[in-house]
Symmetry: C2
Subunit: 170 residues, 2 copies
């Protein structure tokens, strides 16, 4: 399936100079969305994972269905102020600024096998932060899955110690 | 299934006086999550819907898997500044403050049959705003589905013109 037909490039969003990949047309096409979820769930199963982890908000758009399809647990990574109980916190750098990500303490159990899911791999800052949140709780990152890879924005050796799935490259 | 075993009550979050319903333990239990998604997807199919609509971010946690399971289109409602293309906008009142919600213009087609999904029905302000966003684009709201109903916070006649699914009541 040609997924690029369902992804729009929006220039200068959210700020000048950024080419934003808009995945909402893909979500709004049931066949294209099912194709993506099926491919990601296959990857989760191949990785032997029992937990899917995803950051708000766009990671949730895919991880929910992937967790359902692969019958894995679904753990959230959120921005500060969103998770109501005790959290572990990490600061990270992203394509346009710095931010924090948090996970509820105890959501990952020792020896959990984790696949992290997000919509876009840009600089890799977000995903490296999430890897640390998993590893701080003694979980094992078995793989990382992205709908979209933007290889011009990150080192080619990024994430080379993990299984990586990238469904579309620009 | 006793879903309340998987939902935590967190007092005074995000502000004093609010009892926050934390659904992250339910997401972090594959059987409980699958039960909820299966029930919501059955409701979507019973409603004859071809589109699932959900607000960020907690609505996404359920709507993604429900859209996948019921093979419906998945349309996002987001806060200002998040959707990159032309939007329709509505202001609404919620349990603690006022806010805007937006949808990409054209995401709902005339005569689409829509089920709206969210985690919690509190005052109903969010859901009434989303109903309007759908109807402004000539879509038809066939049903609304909530994991959690907080009946003390809204009128008993709220949403009575729609099919309503509520899986847990407090």
């Amino acid at each position: 399936m040609d997924l690029k037909k369902h992804i729009l490039n929006v220039k200068d969003f959210p700020i000048d100079g950024i080419d934003f990949k808009d995945v909402t047309p893909l979500l709004n096409d049931a066949d294209a969305f099912a194709y993506v979820i099926d491919e990601m769930a296959k990857f989760v199963i191949e990785c032997g994972a029992n937990v899917v982890v995803a950051p708000e908000a766009r990671g949730f758009l895919f991880a929910s269905a992937v967790a359902y399809k692969s019958h894995t647990r679904f753990v959230l990574v959120r921005k500060p102020g969103k998770l109501p109980r005790e959290v572990i916190d990490i600061e990270y750098t992203l394509e346009y600024g710095t931010n924090h990500q948090q996970m509820h303490k105890g959501d990952i159990k020792p020896d959990d096998k984790v696949v992290i899911i997000d919509d876009v791999l840009a600089t890799g800052g977000t995903i490296e932060a999430i890897v640390k949140l998993v590893e701080m709780q003694d979980g094992k990152v078995e793989g990382v899955s992205f709908l979209i890879d933007l290889p011009a924005l990150h080192d080619e050796n990024l994430l080379q110690e993990y299984k990586v799935q990238k469904l579309v490259k620009y």
